[in-house]
């Protein structure tokens, strides 16, 4: 019986590893959100809005910023510009919050600040919730992305339908 212990332990360990792997795999957002983005964190990226793609199932826009994906809480020390790509929600969901295509397109070339959940793997991308425009308006570009435990902005649970 004693002899079997290592085998049992090996089996248990294998089961543990398999279970851990299974637990790590099972849940993905329909559009792969959890695979792509870290919903437990916020980043605020300030830079020049360079491109807007107003399409389904998600809108996209690009922001050139001195903030590096390696340390998204600080501007890059060497002043290097990073081209960030953000995705928002579907066109109709964004429209429903009152945000129009012109709210982004009219500000191409201007400085904006994006609130987003960062991409996984230090990539220069994010799942965006809001964009602060140069005229101080903050427009909604995505539904709730944040699932963390920290303080959340007041607009986070806003139902985009109502």
């Amino acid at each position: 019986m004693r002899r079997n212990f290592p085998v049992t332990r090996a089996v248990n360990l294998s089961l543990l590893v398999v279970s851990a792997l299974l637990l790590a795999i099972p849940l993905f957002a329909h559009h792969g959100f959890q695979f792509e983005f870290d919903g437990s964190k916020y980043i605020y990226i300030t830079g020049t809005l360079t491109k807007v793609e107003w399409e389904n199932p998600h809108i996209y826009f690009n922001v050139e910023s001195k903030t590096s994906p390696d340390n998204p809480t600080a501007a890059a020390a060497d002043g290097k510009i990073t081209n960030w790509r953000f995705e928002g929600s579907s066109v109709s969901l964004v429209q429903r919050t009152g945000t129009r295509r012109a709210d982004l397109v009219d500000y191409i070339g201007k400085t904006v600040t994006v609130r987003a959940c960062p991409g996984k793997g230090d990539l220069a991308k994010g799942a965006a919730e809001t964009v602060k425009l140069p005229d101080d308006r903050e427009v909604v570009v995505g539904r709730k992305r944040y699932y963390g435990t920290g303080p959340v902005p007041a607009d986070i649970d806003k139902d985009p339908v109502n």
């Binding site: 329909h30 695979f35 007041a154």
Partner: protein
């Protein structure tokens, strides 16, 4: 410690102040948001409801997302998952009746990206990912995010689904269901009034679609009975029962759904294959390393 607290407080206050500004300066969350038209371009009192008539189902209806829980099937419940990084919409599981061997085989072949059997969308086979029809009743579960409207006509009721800009025809001219119809993505539906309840019976569904986001199956033998009741101006209830002896050994009785009337118009939401492919290349396939170069 006090300094840390002051910093945190200031950060929270700034975030709240910025957010308040956002709410004050958008118009979609209050009143009528018709999309292309700005509020001052519209006639006044557009959102004023008509007098209540229980036999008039017209209106734009949405499924409220209670406590951030999105309904995606006849009955589904929120899973308790400690990991805060799991998105809310993933915390759900459906509870179908026992499946027949045929149903089970179809279920096993489905690779959804919702619920406990999820795979990354790039590795799945959900028809949603390629703009294929979702079929009814799955179209209805989209009403979490994409409302539908009822349009009353003299000989039919039209159910206009925002997603795919889809029109479901429910005939009310007295015809019976077809006896041996060719399968159709959205089936065939007839409706009649029993008191103040609008009873819709449907059949003739194409079995390529899933019932819901979880990959639960149905066959071409599926029969669906929906009982719609307008409770008041702002609420519409539906009870649904599915009978499909080829796929399930017992009827699937859904939990009642109460839709809320929303003061928004149906927006255009076409699933354009070119846009969807763009998204597949960028996100779904890229996430699993199968994107085309």
């Amino acid at each position: 410690m006090a300094k840390q607290f002051r910093t945190s407080f200031a950060a929270c206050f700034s975030i709240l102040a910025l957010s308040g500004m956002a709410l004050a300066q958008t118009y979609g969350t209050k009143g009528y948001a018709p999309g292309a038209w700005k509020p001052d371009e519209l006639p006044p009192d557009l959102s004023k409801p008509k007098p209540f008539n229980p036999h008039d189902l017209s209106g734009v209806w949405s499924m409220p997302t209670k406590s951030n829980f999105e309904r995606h099937s006849f009955n589904d419940k929120r899973l308790v998952i400690e990991d805060k990084s799991i998105p809310n919409e993933m915390r759900a599981q459906s509870y179908p009746p026992p499946m027949t061997p045929w149903g089970k085989e179809k279920f096993e072949a489905a690779k959804p990206s919702y619920g406990p059997r999820s795979v990354a969308p790039g590795l799945g086979n959900d028809l949603v990912s390629t703009c294929e029809p979702m079929g009814y009743p799955r179209d209805l579960w989209e009403a979490n995010l994409r409302p539908f409207e009822f349009v009353m006509a003299s000989d039919r009721v039209l159910q206009h689904m925002q997603y795919h800009d889809l029109w479901r025809t429910i005939w009310t001219d007295g015809r019976a269901l077809p006896t041996d119809p060719d399968p159709a993505w959205n089936g065939y539906s007839v409706g009649h009034w029993e008191g103040d309840t609008f009873v819709v019976e449907s059949t003739g569904y194409d079995d390529r679609t899933w019932l819901d986001h979880f990959g639960n199956p149905h066959s071409d033998q599926m029969k669906l009975v929906e009982r719609f009741k307008r409770l008041d101006i702002d609420h519409l209830q539906v009870d649904m029962t599915l009978t499909d002896p080829k796929a399930y050994t017992a009827p699937w009785v859904g939990d009642p759904i109460t839709f809320e009337r929303v003061k928004v118009a149906i927006f255009e939401e076409i699933c354009a294959p070119s846009e969807e492919n763009h998204f597949n290349d960028r996100v779904r396939d890229a996430a699993v390393g199968t994107a085309k170069p």
